[in-house]
Amino acid sequence: MAIDMSQSTGVGQSGGAGGSSAARWFARGNIFTATLFGAGGWFFGHWWGNVIAGHYTSVQNSGTNDVSWLLGAIFAVVAWFIGLGALNHPIAKLWGGEAPMAEKKQKYSIMEYFSYSTDHKVVGIQYLFAMLMYFFVAGLLALGIRTELLSPTYHIWGPDTYIEIVGEHGTMMMMMMTSIIMGPFGNFLVPLMIGSKRMAFPRLEAASFWFTVPAFFFLLSALWQGGFQSGWTGYAPLSIQGGVGQDAYLFSFTLMALSMLAASTNMVATIINYRAPGMRWSRLSVLTWGMITTAFTMILSVPVLIDGLYVMGMDRAVQTSMLYGQHGGSPFLWENLFWFFGHPEVYLLALPGFAITTEILPVFARKPVFALKTSIAGMIGVATLSFFVWQHHLFNSGMNPDMRPLFMLSTELISIPTGFLYLVGMGTVWRGRLRFNVPMLFMLAVFFNFLWGGITGVYNSDVPVDALIHGSFFVMAHFHFTIMGQLMFAVFGAIYYYTPLFFGIKLSEKLGKIHFWTMFVAFNSTFLPLFIVGWLGQPRRVFEYAARLQTLNQWVSISAYVLGLSLAFFVVTFIWQLVVTRPKSEPNPWDSRGLEWQVGIPVPKDNFDRIPVILSSPYEYGNPNAGPMADLSPTVASVGSDA
């Protein structure tokens, strides 16, 4: 499996002439036809919305209102999927038919990555680049925030623009990054890790990716539509009073929610049903455990988010009053619906991060995962408890005070399974024969960073402390350590680790170490002082602050620029090595026992020549008597024989 950057090998048919295959590709549906259809859908929906609700003017003389905006967006997305060719199958089913799926190929042209591919490896790579793009755009917005905070009195942005940027940054990170591990790594690796040649529902998998693209652009469009002053948490009444930028928020979040549901349904069905013979639950890789745990958490929490966003949309467009107290509603309804998803969501970000960290650590420690079952229990424990903590977000916003101790307790309890995950990692590296390659450095940094985020999290869950620091930069620093410090470091480590498998190249250790150390130092230099800034009373989402905090803020901003430069360095060196130098990798450069590494580079089009038979755990490092993990060429019954 490799991207061929140099020549067009055609899509859909091998060996065809370049021109005709390009024409076939265009006719089959792709990002360009989708954009064209989507634009048409937008104009139709917008026009229709104005016909039926032209008198609901949200912005004076703009010709835009919530109904026309939302109808425009809905039609745009439906047309987008028509343009991709994604609806051919459901429409064919109306007549009892089935649209054919494109043949898998060993080598894809670059164009295939811009079409509705049902090959899990292509989807994984589509996700990887898209998620990185979303992350870097959101990161640029963060630099916009830090630029404003260089001075308490001299302003780059107005207060409205500032809060728009803050909201956009927060939403983009929290919303899009839920898929940054399941999307690229889950889709690419899970079939390989469980010994399957395919996913259970490839069309659903493809749909999950193609929801993210309009979600991103709709969310970005809020910037030039007045933004959304409610921030990523979307609290009412701000959210029901804002302009159409708020519609962009709720609509794009809904699209991401649909993406998560599609991805998790496919993931659950695949992991449960498509495991190779011998792949018992006890032999499943930690990453696969992380994926199925995350997927179940999504299935049970994301629909409630859709409810919340739908309630907001109905209040805005159809004039219901569910979030408006005067007519029998309550803004607290949103807080409950949102956080019932929102707190599990934090773990939707953290769990895959821990899973991939625990997956990679033993390879570089040359030891089995310490207390593997405890790690799995930790993931399941975190996922389960995450449904019982949401009200800690309401400690300060008017919940029944008698309920506070209950949610304080449940929140503190979650530190126990989280501690399992942490200690499993520590136990795995303890007395290991550590190899400090770039992926390992990132994984070790995960534990350093998460220590700050985790310990401060325990304090945050205490009602008295929360009452003091709520809404301050202290909380902001806490969740940046738990999410960026944990998840994003795990992601970058995983990129360095899995690049040979994804692209057939091995990224430079030297350049990787420059990236790691600059990112690690700049990250801590950016976010550690924010604990102090918050402790000294600087609130979030306010563009002015006390003059005495200027020095600390300037330090943080400059560190943030260095962090940005470090990430830019990664982008440049990554693309340079991927496109220009292409340093070839050996088949299993890290000497991993994982099944995914046994298939060779590039990964064969069907992953395995034959269904493998799994013989042992993937983590038997340091055991001289350990046999191979799998028999990759077991005897196969003749096709069509009487099973």
């Binding site: 009892g96 038919g97 299935i299 409810d307 919340g308 309630v311 509603g329 607290f332 196969v636 019954a637």
Partner: protein, 216 residues
């Protein structure tokens, strides 16, 4: 089975992935019910939360509900559809394919009408969306319910059309209801998933009938 040429296990790939796809259909239909139930659960939460808060005494000051007649009709249609499908599926397992086709076609029709009734009810409400709390939650519930019901109708319709298209393939092997051909087994897995989903929808319809028309 092909003979075992050495000590290693023998795997029939086609059969293996066929079984996996049957399992995936089972898993996905159960997952779909879990997701839909959670989606409706959020609306139930909104109902009970706002009802218990009764902000400004505006939950439902005049004790008005949406049309009970239409609501009852939707309830009856959904429950009957689930029952018809259930008995049809039983007959399918005994090999009576035409019986199932008739039952499933009626199921699709009943469910389609129920979805249409739900949309029609929204046009005949005795209140405005913002009149009071109950009104708002009902106006929000209506489109979700219509969408989920119409999704069930789509599933039922596609199953019927699939059976029409593939019927001949299994005719020499006992028919779609009994054949051990992969295509027939996949079809039956789809029917099983549909039945589970429809039963779930019928249960949800009963619960929400009680919520919106009895408790109110």
């Amino acid at each position: 089975m092909a003979s075992n040429v050495d000590e290693r296990p023998v795997i029939d790939e086609e059969a293996y992935y066929h079984d996996a796809s049957l399992g995936a259909t089972w898993t996905a239909s159960r997952t779909a019910v879990a997701m839909v139930a959670t989606l409706y659960g959020g609306i139930a939460f909104a109902f009970f939360y706002l009802r218990s808060l009764n902000s400004n005494g505006q939950w439902n000051p005049n004790h008005i509900t949406a049309s009970t007649i239409i609501g009852t009709t939707i309830l009856v249609l959904m429950v009957v559809a689930a029952l018809v499908n259930y008995f049809g599926a039983r007959r399918l397992r005994r090999g009576m394919v035409v019986d199932w086709q008739v039952a499933a076609a009626f199921t699709a029709l009943f469910v389609l009408v129920a979805g249409g009734m739900q949309i029609w009810e929204l046009t005949r409400l005795p209140f405005q969306p913002s009149s009071f709390g109950y009104a708002s939650v009902f106006v929000a519930f209506g489109p979700v319910n219509a969408f989920a019901i119409l999704l069930s109708a789509y599933w039922a319709e596609t199953a019927v059309m699939q059976s029409v298209r593939i019927k001949k393939l299994a005719i020499t092997d006992g028919g779609l209801g009994l054949s051990s051909l992969p295509v027939a087994e996949k079809f039956r897995a789809n029917v099983d998933g549909l039945s589970f989903f429809l039963n779930g929808m019928a249960l949800i319809t009963i619960v929400f009938y009680v919520i919106f028309y009895v408790i109110a």
